[in-house]
Amino acid sequence: MSSLLVISRLTFREASRRKILLAALLLGLAFLAVYATGFYLINEEFERNVTRNAEFFQSQMANFLMMAGLYAVNFLTVVMTVLTSVDTISGEISSGTSQTLVSKPLRRWEVIGGKWLGYCGLISLYLVFMAGGVVLTAYTVTGYFPGGLAEGIALMWLSALLLLAISFLGGTVMSTLANGVLVFGLYGIAFVGGWIEQVGSFLQSDVAVNVGIVSSLIFPGEALWKRAAYEMQSAASGLAGGMTPFSAISVPSTAMIVYAVAYTLVILALAFRNFHQRDL
């Protein structure tokens, strides 16, 4: 077996042994249970009260509730990504665990690459499980299925990988705590920037929109969510111009997606380079 696979399997096994998989599964199920119950009750209420244009309004409601669920899933995925990965490199360096690994006949990139594969697998599983649960709830209760779902989930996935790459890069140069502060700090900037951009776009303020764009350039994670929301939201909710976190007024361009992919690759390459060069 290649060293890359040994390390990625080790990453999976660590998540399982440290009960991270179990906790994520149980709490994910709890989240989906609460979500499904809420969805069902709201839908019941809706069917009792709305009689005119019921089909149109029901799909709007289902879309709104689904987007709210996916927004929560996006946030949970971000938190899961950072919390599980923030210590994996810096922790093993500071404890000396990495010395036994790296002194084996393997190349250093295989250590980082293996961890990357392992975490990608874990995050993908989590995202598919949670987002799948939300979409399935909406479909089961109301028969609603969004257009652009694959694109939307792919963008949420990219946003998680972007954070993972930053967490890896941080892990090669700083302590676990500093790394956590860095990753959440960047996320915070992008989050606030994204809101300024939304409000600015609503009020047609170019300056505010530019602030948003600059914050997206610093960290394009929030822009990816906005684009994902745009892909999955119904045309009507976009037109209605609702100011919710689950809808996008100012839609990030395709260029921003390309930028986010390039950003992820560059950050990841820097993480590989730093780990390759650093003393252990």
Partner: protein
């Protein structure tokens, strides 16, 4: 400085002299700021030769959520040992380090000594031609130390080279063939321990009525002659001189109350070469 096959080589020096750093450089964990070294004729950092190398780090921290058996299996995989051979080798090693009954127990529950022993087993998985042991007995009780000594001997008999960092000079004295003394990152002396141990002897004599002309005759046999009251001390290069010196004293009319030869210990040599500053 070269370490030969079938040789146990001790690396001695005060705290902070650079012993662990040297091992890490040889294993490619740290890049040397200057100078060069070779392992099996290959430049440092060549990952291929590490398949012939075993390493027990000073701070033996491992993935403690693995069981002892799983831990050895992961490292056997990293050494790319075929599963059939690993399946035979792992129980052998667990037996060797007296941890066979604990194979299924998580490393988290291991004591310091047990961790060090499993670390040693890990360093021997690949039947290495060269083993780096950094303070291999720091966590062990006297029986454990004795056991490690036997393991080191059997490695030597098999023709492997052992590179040993140790604080315990008495242990080095027993196990090593040659030692290097290191101070402020520089090797200040390499010595053959067989010559040191078989060599110079310091003698302390308590005697009265020592004839001053005796001291002149004594200078043929030894050096550093010093007479204070009835206490006479001197060094002589060979053990065979002792009966002659004793006869000389008696023939010259000295009344000898005690005659105590002492071999120059590694500790004396250490203090002589490295000095007392810093301490061990």
């Amino acid at each position: 400085m070269t370490v030969q096959r079938g040789e146990v080589f001790g690396f001695l020096g005060p705290n902070g002299a650079g012993k662990t750093t040297s091992i890490k450089m040889l294993l490619g964990l740290i890049t040397p700021s200057s100078g060069e070294g070779r392992l099996f004729g290959r430049p440092l950092g060549d990952y291929g030769v590490r398949s012939r190398v075993g390493f027990l780090p000073e701070h033996f921290r491992f993935h403690d959520w693995l069981t002892a058996g799983e831990f050895l299996q992961v490292h056997a995989d990293l050494y790319k040992i075929p599963s059939q051979r690993a399946g035979k080798r792992i129980p052998e090693l667990l037996e060797l380090v007296s941890l066979a009954p604990f194979a299924g127990q998580k490393l988290r529950t291991f004591s310091k000594g047990m961790l060090q022993r499993i670390g040693l087993a890990q360093a021997l998985l690949n039947d290495p031609d060269l083993v780096f042991l950094d303070e291999p007995t720091s966590g062990l009780d006297p029986v454990g130390r004795l056991h490690v000594r036997d393991i080191i001997r059997s490695l030597r008999e098999r023709g492997a080279a052992v590179f040993l960092n140790s604080h315990l000079l008495s242990e080095v004295e027993i196990t090593c063939d040659r030692v290097a003394f290191i101070k402020h990152g520089k090797v200040v002396r390499v010595a053959d321990l067989h010559t040191i141990v078989d060599g110079e002897i310091s003698v302390e004599v308590r005697a009265r009525e020592i004839n001053p002309s005796l001291l002149g005759d004594l200078s043929h046999w030894g050096s550093s002659i010093c007479l204070e009251g009835d206490r006479l001390t001197f060094n002589t290069p060979h053990e065979e001189n002792l009966p002659e010196i004793h006869r000389l004293l008696v023939e010259q009319g000295a009344k000898v109350y005690s005659f105590s030869p002492q071999k120059v210990s590694l500790e004396d040599l250490f203090i002589q070469i490295v000095g007392t500053e810093g301490g061990l």
